[in-house]
Amino acid sequence: MGLACVPGALSVSCITAPALAAPMGAKMSRNLKTYFPMKGDEPAMNIVVCVKYVPDATSDPTFNESDNTTDRLGVDGLLSELDEYAVEAGLKLAESAGEESNVTVLTIGPDKAADAIKKSLQMGADAGVHVNDEAIHGSDAAATSLILAEAVKKIGNPDLILTGMASTDGVMGVVPAMLAERLGLPQVTLASELTVAGGTVTIRRDDDVASVTITASLPALVSVTDQINEPRYPSFKGIMAAKKKPVSTWSLADLGIDAGSVGLAGAWTTVESFAKRPPRAQGQIVTDEGDGGTKLAEFLSANKFV
């Protein structure tokens, strides 16, 4: 945060990050706050939310036979459900911070990935950035984090970068940590609660044995779990407003990334083969006629679980 930006300062004067490369339009809803300056006692925040367009899990996702990559074109896709929590978290923070706050949603993917940006804009994000380049096809997590890092820098060093906890297709959950590593930012990940105040971000992170509180100074990278909030549905007004919001499309060249360092050729891992697991054969089904529990126990004994 800029030194001039102390909590309680008039947020209009607090533009803490360089202006976004994407033009900031469509801020009608927030302009209302200009007339109610007591709202937003936190300085304005520039927030980038990283989102992913993923195959719909219910539409039989599969791999491409030719190169063992995830099939992103032949199946229906959507904004990864887990990223909706990050978009919601970003919108909530922007709403409670100064009125010059803005939320830019960033995605990488083929043409169809624009749907993930569209949904985020409908929810209320202000602008979109879509990194779209054929050479990206087949990128692994390391390459994905490289592209995201360069795009975040080009957007202009935001106060906060938000992500979901994992994608619903790859489910590795490693890109947030990689992105923090590449950007040299505090890694404040897997937040089930999130507050930002006075230039400090505080989260609650739960694991098996403890509930942990973590704090860091902004700027920071924060990933959120599906416990953090209840993502809003786009309103009719939001859907209409989204059509006028700016979306920038960048290529790898725009980001100064060598095409050979990403994609299948630049991957640090390789999928050698994949095989569809045979569907599990249905076993014995019994209907309870007063002895269902006994039969269950007999199955357990017969299979040496008891």
Binding site: A57, T58, F63, L82, A141, S145, V171, M172, G173, V174, V175, P176, A177, M178, A180, E181, R182, P186, Q187, V188, T189, D207, V209, A210, S211, V212, T213, I214, T215, A216, S217, Q227, A267, W268, T269, T270, V271, S273, F274, K276, R277, R280, Q282, G283, Q284, I285, V286, T287, D288, G292, G293, T294, L296, A297, F299, L300, S301, N303, F305, V306
Partner: protein, 319 residues
């Protein structure tokens, strides 16, 4: 033979079963060297030696333990540089995967997460097997750059006892200021349930919407089998059971010997978390529930009558 680094999961020196699984896998690839971070190394040493640890690198600095993830990745990166290991093995917990992620970027190495099998390939390579798309696919992969960094799911190997020298070396790794940016300011331990940890358990009994919020019959059945208790997302979202027990895509992925789904319909979200279980049993009132398509044994019936009867029979059989 090259070293294989194993980052040990432990609770104040009590070594978790996952660490013994990693030691067993490490021996397929080279000589296991344990990286032990935090207090309790003295207490852990005997167990580690019994499961084949040749070296134990000890790190106790508060610079490592007071901050989230990043310092641990710096410790491992220093070891990768000095020991030139054949691979780095880390348990697939959320923290383990994040440490592995940063280590991969620091060392320019390929990362494979959530392996369910790891074997030595040709010419010093490491081949892994993963499950993809809710367990619907088995994927063989390998690392093509740098040091293979692999996170391995719990229950991916049966721990085998083999004596190791467990030669200790205390490490002093200077931690950068940048890695000390996310400070752990408070830790609230969770009350222990007395049941096995969900991802490590040999048997898991889970309840869902069909419990209507009453998990007592699920818990009693689980206790008769010495099982961990899980819950579907629907049950967790309803506030009936803690999120830490959620089995599914956004909760824990479990792969026990036996999985019992009680009052769970078997949505894709849930299947993604338990489909690789060896044996699956379901109890559900709805004979059309998709869970029945994947079970080895199913009872169409009310869990509130079926489970207590089964609990009684199991307890009687145990004597």
């Amino acid at each position: 033979m090259a070293e294989v680094l194993v980052l040990v999961e432990h609770l104040e020196g009590v070594v978790r079963k996952t660490a013994l699984e990693l030691l067993t896998i490490a021996r397929r690839l080279g000589e296991p060297s344990v990286v032990f971070i935090g207090p309790g190394a003295d207490a852990a040493k005997q167990t580690l030696a019994q499961y084949g640890a040749e070296k134990v690198y000890r790190v106790e600095s508060a610079d490592v333990t007071d901050y989230l993830v990043a310092p641990k990745a710096e410790v491992l990166a220093a070891l990768v540089a000095s020991a030139a290991p054949a691979a780095v093995l880390i348990t697939s917990t959320p923290e383990g995967k994040e440490i592995a992620a940063r280590l991969a970027i620091k060392t320019g190495s390929g990362l494979i997460t959530d392996a369910v099998d790891v074997q030595a390939g040709d010419a010093g390579t490491v081949r892994t097997t993963q499950s993809a798309f809710a367990g619907g696919f088995a994927v063989q992969a390998s690392v093509t750059k740098g040091t293979p960094i692999i996170t391995v799911k719990p229950n991916s190997a049966a721990p085998e006892a083999v004596a190791g020298a467990a030669v200790e070396q205390v490490l002093q790794v200077p931690i950068s200021e940048g890695a000390k940016a996310a400070r752990i300011t408070d830790t609230q331990p969770k009350a222990a349930s007395g049941r096995p940890e969900l991802t490590e358990a040999a048997i898991v009994v889970s309840g869902g919407r069909g419990t209507s919020g009453d998990f007592s019959k699920v818990e009693e059945f689980a206790d008769s089998l010495g099982a961990a208790v899980g819950a579907s997302r629907a049950a967790v979202d309803a506030g009936w059971y803690p999120h830490a027990n959620q089995v599914g895509q956004t909760g824990k992925q479990v792969s026990p010997q036996l999985y019992v789904a009680a009052g769970i319909s078997g949505a894709i979200q849930h299947r993604a978390g338990m489909q690789t279980s060896k044996t699956i049993i379901a109890v559900n009132k709805d004979e059309e529930a998709p869970i029945f398509e994947m079970v080895d044994f199913g009872v169409v019936g009310d869990l509130f009558t079926v489970l207590p009867q089964a609990t009684k029979a199991v307890n009687a059989a145990k004597g």
